[in-house]
């Protein structure tokens, strides 16, 4: 009897934590909706709602690679780039075939996720053989390659079907009536603006659902065992390549979903250093580290706060990014310095001891 209640408690505990995470997202959504209907949200803030979901999904998915699999990836934005471009191409070329925006967007999300997953497998197979910092720099390299290659692709469509080139738009040799879908460095224009805050929140919830359930399952344990001790994991019969690749690919495909949200939130899409370069990958990594490596909820909250922070500091104008940088450094030292951790622990225990004495 005692045994069964104890076990129930164990399952309930993770379930409860996960439930809190979902509730936070839903509550945030409801509060924002109320504020919008009360006219309390500036247009600037409204413009930030979808990006908040995008960055949350990016942070959650990267935490799967960094926190759960334990490998440092600096190329996560490359997968977002794959998802963004693949889904935009899909949406534009299916504009006539699938008239319903909802259905088309649904499939666009799947296409984006699949394209990014495919990239994840292609990148993951060679990369996951490497270790530590070498793995990190190669993911960075792959991210940059994806971004660079996208910039030299040309794709058009006319009555004969699709035309493809890596030279320029003229080399597509299309009929006059044909349309250019992907125009090299000019990117894609005319992606339908299907991304809404509600869809973003739903996708964030789905991302959370997938990642949290994966962690608390057989495969999740296998992934974490590889993280904690590769050699021991092998010794008990865990196929480490399989589980590394699985985590990496799921992480990539979720980044692809974020990319779909991104590209369907803008009328023109280009791949630049700022949106899909290593700077973006690093930005996402900052969310993960500040929110807590392996802490899914934390990385989501960090993504939201750190995306809002520069906007909240907007009043300070030129100084805002400077202040952002300083806050970042100070927070890192405060959170991670062994001396400060010791100090905090002692102070905390001192307080508790005092309370107990009272």
């Amino acid at each position: 009897m005692e045994k069964s209640t104890a076990k129930k408690f164990h399952i309930d505990k993770t379930f409860k934590t996960n439930l809190i995470t979902y509730s936070i997202v839903i509550a945030a959504f409801i509060i924002v909706q109320i504020l919008i209907s009360a006219g309390q949200v500036s247009s600037l803030m409204k413009g930030l709602l979808v990006p908040l979901c995008i960055y949350s999904i990016m942070a959650i998915s990267l935490n799967l690679t960094v926190g759960i699999l334990g490998e440092l990836s600096l190329g996560h934005a490359g997968f977002m780039c794959m998802g963004a471009f693949a889904s935009s191409i899909f949406s534009i070329s299916m504009m006539d075939s699938i008239p319903s925006a909802g259905v088309r967007f649904f499939f666009a999300i799947l296409v984006g996720a699949a394209a990014a997953a495919a990239a994840g497998i292609v990148v993951g197979i060679p990369v996951l053989r490497l270790r530590g910092d070498y793995l990190a720099i190669v993911t960075l390299a792959f991210g940059e390659i994806i971004k660079n290659v996208v910039n030299v692709l040309y794709l058009g469509k006319d009555s004969n079907g699709f035309h493809f080139s890596m030279k320029n738009a003229m080399a597509l040799k299309m009929e006059k009536s044909g349309t250019i879908i992907l125009n090299g460095a000019q990117g894609i224009t005319g992606t339908p603006k299907n991304s809404t805050f509600a869809i973003g929140v739903i996708l964030t919830l789905i991302t959370l659902f997938i990642v949290l359930n994966l962690i608390n399952s057989r495969s999740g344990r296998a992934i974490m065992s590889v993280r904690d001790n590769r050699i021991a994991a092998e010794s008990i019969g865990i196929n480490i390549t399989k589980y590394k690749l699985m985590a990496f690919t799921i992480s990539a495909s979720l980044a692809g979903v974020a990319g779909v949200l991104y590209s369907h939130n803008l009328s023109s899409l280009t791949a630049t250093q700022k949106n899909f370069g290593y700077n973006q990958s690093i930005m996402i990594l900052v969310f993960v580290v500040l929110g807590g490596i392996g802490n899914i909820r934390g990385s989501m909250i960090a993504a939201v706060i750190l995306t809002l922070l520069p906007e909240l500091l907007r009043g300070l104008n030129a100084y805002r990014m400077l202040i952002y940088a300083i806050i970042l450094i100070v927070m890192m030292i405060f959170n991670w310095s062994p001396k400060l951790i010791d100090f905090r622990k002692r102070y905390f225990h001192l307080n508790r001891a005092k309370k107990e004495r009272v």
């Binding site: 997938i210 994966l214 399952s217 057989r218 019969g237």
Partner: protein, 252 residues
């Protein structure tokens, strides 16, 4: 037929013969000790047995199957599980999850079932929980099942490693210095546990140990290794009184 039969096993690292012409036969259900001075090549033999290193020479037969040079994962599936000299637990997983990871291959369900929480997930997870708690009870760890492995005291970490290895359902269990760092009380307790595991799990056990009390207390047969070669092997009492063995340990 012997459970484990190693013939003329050998490996060199950059010209150094770490293990040379090593042969051993272990019968099913035996409790076998592998002893020898530091650097004799004992752990290297474990690493050869579990596929961490590939041998240059010799064959390893487990239950009649040739497992020489196979991958670590396949060797575990063939029936060899081990512990490590420097404890290798999944430190950020709970005690229970460490053991459940050991049950990974015997209790399968798909990743999709896990993510979507299909009925199979609940069914298999429940079986895993029960099996894992049962194993933890043997090692008196069931009360700490929700503790993180890294928060366990040292002696219990060693026990958890054995529990995790047992969870994979091996035919042969390799223990690399299971009593290292334990006090005499813990060692005595560990001896009982090892005997219990052998008797109740029908296990064959090969262990490396420096603690002579443990070795003479539970091992039925011994092989003494010196400079990568077999110095002598046989019944525990005979081996321990062999003047050659005493010389290898204490010097001339």
């Amino acid at each position: 037929m012997a459970l484990l039969e190693i013939n003329n096993l050998g490996i060199s690292f950059g010209g150094l013969r770490a293990v040379d012409n090593f042969s051993i036969t272990i019968e099913k259900g035996q409790l076998y000790g592998l002893i020898g001075p530091n650097g004799a090549g004992k752990t290297t033999i474990f690493n050869l047995l579990t596929g961490v290193y590939k041998p240059n020479a010799g064959t390893i037969l487990l239950d009649g199957n040739n497992i020489t040079g196979k991958k670590t994962v396949d060797i575990n599936r063939a029936g060899i599980a081990r512990t490590f000299q420097n404890i290798r637990l999944f430190k950020d997983l709970t005690v229970l999850d460490n053991v459940k990871t050991g049950l990974h291959n015997s209790h399968p369900y798909s990743t999709v079932a896990g993510i979507l929480r299909l009925p199979n997930y609940y069914k298999v997870e429940k079986q895993m929980d029960e099996k894992a708690v049962e194993l933890l009870k043997v090692f008196d760890l069931d009360k700490e099942k929700d503790t993180l492995a890294s928060n366990l005291p040292y002696g219990k970490q060693r026990k958890l490693e054995i529990a995790r290895a047992l969870a994979t359902g091996p035919k042969l269990l390799l223990l690399d210095e299971p009593a290292a760092g334990m006090n005499p009380n813990e060692t005595a307790e560990l001896m009982d546990t090892i005997r219990f595991v052998r008797d109740n799990f029908d296990m064959t056990i090969l262990l490396i140990e420096h603690d002579m009390k443990l070795v003479s207390g539970i091992c039925e047969r011994l092989t003494v290794l010196n400079f990568g070669q077999v110095l002598t092997q046989g019944k525990t009492a005979d081996v321990l009184h062999d003047p050659e063995v005493i010389k290898a340990y204490l010097g001339e």
